[in-house]
């Protein structure tokens, strides 16, 4: 998947235009795990929505497997930051329903959904409704819901943002384990640099908005399989962290400065 010169603008009240991101060139290779980090309000999620086809770019183009994207990106799965499960369906139904658009028969969909819920460690919560589950458990259901469709690209928008630190690490490990099984192309948005380094093959840094750009692209040559908790103690991790943080820091300060003025 590649983004070519993508810019996204939003109309503001009074005819003005807010330019969220501008001149974005980004390619995610097959099986590559790319993390996007940037200060708050830099348009990371906007970029992800454009990749998903939920937003149309105002300039530039999004190509998916060499085809220009029009409408929704049917080959991608999307993991949202907010709760996106259907509250009126049990965990099992929430996961199984993801197969319905593919035309999988109901019985088979339920079997597969059960297997996926087992894989994310929710075997005994199959019949639970979302409100009965904890935030981490809901995320795991959402993860199963995304993965059961076997999408070729995974798009994730700060999916573990609302979770506590321990749960985030567990979720990170779970994600890496599932991802390692068949290595999909993966675009992961986060504001947490450590999480980005722990998970990704490449970390892309965005500048502060408005008109945010990509200002850095850092490879993460850490060996896999990784443990998201232990890898933070690795000296290489520190070196990479230091390097990326140097470029991210000024942007974070800019973002906060801009907020103070506004």
């Amino acid at each position: 998947m590649r983004l070519d010169g993508v810019a996204i603008t939003f109309p503001l009240k009074g005819g003005a235009v807010y330019c969220a991101v501008e001149g974005i060139d980004l390619a995610v290779g097959p099986g590559e795990f790319v993390a996007i980090v940037g200060p708050t309000g830099c348009g990371k999620s906007t970029l992800l929505n454009a990749s998903a086809g939920l937003l149309a770019p105002s300039a530039g183009r999004v190509d998916v497997f060499g085809q220009p994207l029009s409408g929704l990106n049917g080959r991608a799965g999307y993991l949202f930051q907010a709760d996106a499960l259907m509250p009126w369906k049990s965990a099992l139904d929430n996961v199984a329903v993801a197969l319905e658009p593919k035309g999988v028969p109901r019985r088979e969909a339920l079997d597969q959904a059960r297997a996926w819920l087992g894989r994310v460690g929710l075997k005994s919560f199959v019949e639970s409704y979302p409100h009965m589950l904890s935030g981490g458990q809901r995320k795991r259901v959402a993860l199963a819901q995304m993965l059961i469709r076997d999408p070729e690209i995974l798009l994730m928008d700060e999916p573990f943002g609302p979770l506590d630190a321990q749960t985030r690490q567990l979720m990170g490990n779970l994600l890496l384990k599932l991802w390692a099984a068949d290595r999909k192309a993966c675009l992961f948005v986060t504001h947490d640099l450590e999480e980005a380094i722990a998970l990704a093959d490449r970390v892309v840094v965005m500048s502060a908005g408005p008109a945010a750009r990509i200002i850095g692209d850092f490879p993460v040559p850490l060996a896999r399989p990784r443990d998201t908790a232990e890898i933070r103690l690795d000296p290489d991790f520190h070196r990479i962290h230091k390097e990326i943080w140097a470029s991210l820091r000024t942007e974070v300060q800019k973002a906060y400065g801009a907020e103070e003025i506004a």
Binding site: A84, M86, W88, K89, P101, H131, A142, Q145, R149
Partner: protein
């Protein structure tokens, strides 16, 4: 608070009210018992009348008529409300064009429609069903409209990303959202269906609970009026608890006391 204690307290309230009623109308404390009994009857008279009515056969026919009217008014009102609410919520232009008319129609006191409905549909059950319909329709309509419009954008975007087409979105997202809102107004709308039926009967009919009350009223049979109200109250409580049972079954997914298992 445990259930038994609550029940005792609830019964105590009823007993206290009945005792006050009894004392005031039987003993000459506030005024002449004979005068007061003409206006207020006495609880023992009312209760014995209720008992006589319920053990006799006639009242059941009236109750059955009222029940029929209530159910029909609810079914048609809810059906129409869901349908129109759905269509309006999915079609902004339609909603905007009809907005003032919907508001005007809803602001109309329904009692003034009763004579017209009696004219159109006769004095049988259908004029009462029509009256109940006008009450139920708007409650359900507004709730469904709101429900469909306020589907969480994230849930919707997620369902789209799962590849759902318009029909599947309707079935898995919009429809359950609309139903949730309809069920949350179930108590109100069933209550209003009953109000429509009884008021319709009261204003012109030859059968039903409202007719019974009206009949007693027209001969200054205060005991009969109170007895009718008493039976009506029992009837309402029964219907309402039935609604609660249905609600708990259908909305088991919802957090809170109604969904707790």
């Amino acid at each position: 608070m445990n259930r038994a204690k609550l029940l005792v307290l609830q019964v105590l309230v009823a007993v206290a009210l009945l005792v006050v009623w009894h004392v005031v109308t039987v003993y000459p404390i506030v005024g002449q018992p004979k005068n007061l009994q003409f206006f207020f009857s006495t609880p023992l008279d009312v209760l014995s009348r209720v008992w006589r009515e319920l053990s006799g056969g006639e009242i059941w026919g009236h109750l059955w008529i009222t029940l029929q009217e209530t159910i029909l008014a609810f079914v048609f009102g809810a059906g129409g409300g869901i349908l129109v609410g759905f269509v309006f919520a999915r079609n902004d232009l339609l909603a905007a064009v009809f907005d003032p008319y919907i508001k005007a129609a809803n602001a109309l006191p329904r009692v003034v429609l009763a004579p017209i409905f009696a004219l159109w549909f006769g004095l049988g059950i259908w004029s009462k069903v029509a009256l109940g319909f006008t009450l139920v329709f708007f409650i359900v309509f507004f709730n469904v409209y709101q429900g469909v419009r306020e589907v969480s954008p994230t849930v919707l975007a997620n369902a789209r990303m799962l590849g759902m087409n318009e029909r599947q979105l309707l079935r898995h997202v919009y429809w359950p959202a609309a139903l949730t809102w309809m069920f949350s107004s179930l108590h109100t709308s069933v209550g209003f269906a009953l109000v429509g039926a009884v008021v319709g009967e009261y204003l012109g009919s030859s059968a039903g609970l409202g007719y019974k009350i009206h009949e007693a009223e027209s001969v200054f049979d205060v005991t009969g009026v109170f007895a009718g109200m008493f039976i009506l109250a029992i009837f309402v409580i029964l219907i309402d608890s039935l609604v609660t049972v249905i609600e708990n079954r259908l909305l088991a997914w919802r957090p809170g006391p109604s969904g707790a298992r």
